[in-house]
C-alpha cells in the first residue's frame, strides 16, 4: 500500500467520487452497493435499473486509487479476482474508458452507467452517488 502510494500522483485523485446518471434513480449508494456493482456481485441500482460500471484506463492512477480505497486491493489482485469470474463465465469486468472525460460522457449519456472521476465542478449532467473516502 505504501509502495503504491509512492508511484501514484496522489494529489491528482485526492477527491474521487462515484457518478451516475440523474435518471438512475440513485440518490446515494452505500459502499457495499458500489462494491457489488464494480466487482460484479450484483449490478442493479436500488431503483431496479441495471447498473453498467465503467472503469478508468488500466494504467490510470484513478483506477488504482479507486480500488485501493474501495476494497484495499492492488490492481494485480483485482485482475486475479476478475480472472476467476471471466474464465468461469460468471460475469464480465466493467467496460473501460480511455479517459476521465470519456467516463463523464458515457455516464451522462446512459441512465444505467456508473463511473468514478475526480469530483466535477458545475456538472449537472451527472449525479454524485458516493464519496470514495481516503
Amino acid at each position: 500500500m505504501i509502495l503504491a502510494g509512492l508511484f501514484l500522483s496522489a494529489p491528482a485523485c485526492a477527491d474521487l467520487v462515484v457518478i451516475a446518471h440523474p435518471k438512475s434513480g440513485a440518490e446515494q449508494l452505500s459502499k457495499e452497493q458500489v462494491v457489488n456493482i464494480f466487482l460484479g456481485r450484483f449490478r442493479q441500482f436500488p431503483s431496479g435499473i441495471a447498473a453498467e460500471p465503467i472503469d478508468q484506463a488500466a494504467t490510470s492512477s484513478e483506477k488504482a486509487v479507486f480500488y485501493q480505497r474501495l476494497v484495499g486491493k492492488e490492481l494485480a489482485e483485482i485482475n486475479a479476482y476478475w480472472a476467476r469470474l471471466v474464465f468461469s463465465g460468471r460475469t464480465q469486468p466493467p467496460r473501460q474508458a480511455a479517459s476521465a472525460a470519456q467516463v463523464l460522457e458515457m455516464v451522462a449519456a446512459n441512465p444505467g452507467a456508473i463511473g468514478y472521476i475526480e469530483r466535477p465542478k458545475n456538472e449537472s449532467r451527472v449525479k454524485i452517488v458516493f464519496d470514495v473516502e481516503k
Binding site: 505504501i2 442493479q44 476494497v71 484495499g72 492492488e74 486475479a80 479476482y81 476467476r84 474464465f87
Partner: protein
Amino acid sequence: MALAADIDFSGSGFLTLAAGNMLGGTTQAGGNVNDYNCPCLPTDFGQGGIYDGRGGLQWKPDSKLGLQGSAALGGGGLSMTGQVVARGARDGRVNLEWLYGSYEINEKFTLQAGRKRLPLFYYSDVQDIGFALPWVHLPPAVYGWDAVNYNGVSLLWRSQWGNWSSALNLLAGNESRRESGYYKIYNGRQNRTDVRWGDIAGGDLTLQRDWFEARFSYLQSTTQTKNINGAWDATTQSYAPATIDSAWMPSPTARQRVHGLALNADFRNWLARSEFIYIDRPGNDWKDFAQNLSLGYRHGKWQPMLTWSNYRSSANTRQGAESDAQEAWTVTSLVLRYDLGTSSALKLQFDNSKDRSGPNFGTAFGNARLLTLSYDLVF
C-alpha cells in the same frame, strides 16, 4: 456481412509454466508405488499431474496453456464461449474444457448450457488459471477428484439482501471421461480407466459482504468406472490384465453426495481461505473427508501464505471393509507470490506431505517434500 457485424468476438488466455523438484521423502514400498518412483506428490488428480522422485526437475504436472474465445451474439444477452487447454500432465494434448452458450435473461438470471466446469469446490472454476490462484497448485487433499467438467445446464441467480450479495447456481447434467487422470495416479501411469458420472444435480450458494465470503455447495450423481487395460499390481510389479473390472462398476443406481463449505476473508492486508468437504459414496465403499486452511498476508507485490490441508477416507463397513486405517495424508504448504505486473506473477511453493495412511490402504505414496516455482500469466 450484416450477420458478422452483429457478432462481437473477444479472446483471452492463460499460461502457467511451472517446474518442481522433489527434495526428499520416504516411502514404504521400496520406492515403486503404482508405477511411480516415490516419494510422490499428486498435485492435479483430475489431470493425473504427479511429481515423483525420479525425474529431477519436472515441468509437466502443473504447466498449461489455455485459450478462451467468446462471441456475443447481437445485443440480447446471448453469447458462446469455448476454452481449450494444453497441459504437460497430458503430454501437451489439447482438451476442450468449456464450450457453452449463455443467455443473460436479465441482471439477476443467467442460463447456460453446454460443457462447463463442475463447481465442486471454491476454486474449481479456475483450477487451470494459475494467476487467479494463491498457490502454484491447488491443495490436492481437497481438489482431488476424477471428474472436473460436465455437460448440462445451469441457472445462476444473483441477488442483494441489504449489504449482502448472493449468487445461487443450480446445475444438472452428465460427465463421461476417457482415460481418467485420477485413476492413473491410483492404478499406474499406463492405466486407462474411464469414468462416468450420471444424473449430476446440485448447486452452490455464495454469500458475500465486504471482506467476508461464504460458499455452500451440494452435488450428487451416480459414479461408475471401467478399467480398460488393467491396474498396477504391487506384488508382481507389472500391470495386471483388466479382467475383473472390465465392466462398468458399481451399479448405476449407486449415488455419491458431495457436501462443501468454504469460508474466506480478505481483511485489510490479511487473507484467509478455508474449505471443508465431505463426500459420501455408498456405492463405492468410501466416505471422504477433506479440509484446507490458509492464512496469508499481502505486502505490496508480495504475498506469503501458509496452508494446511488434510484428507482422510473411511471405508463403508457394511461393504465388509475395515472402516479405519485407510488412506490419509496431510500437506503443509508455504507459498510466496510476487506480482510482476497486473497480469503476471511468480510463485514459489514448498509442500511437505505426510502420509498417514493405515495398513488397510495398500498403495500409500509416502512422505514427500516438494519445491515448485511457477510463472503465471493471463492475457
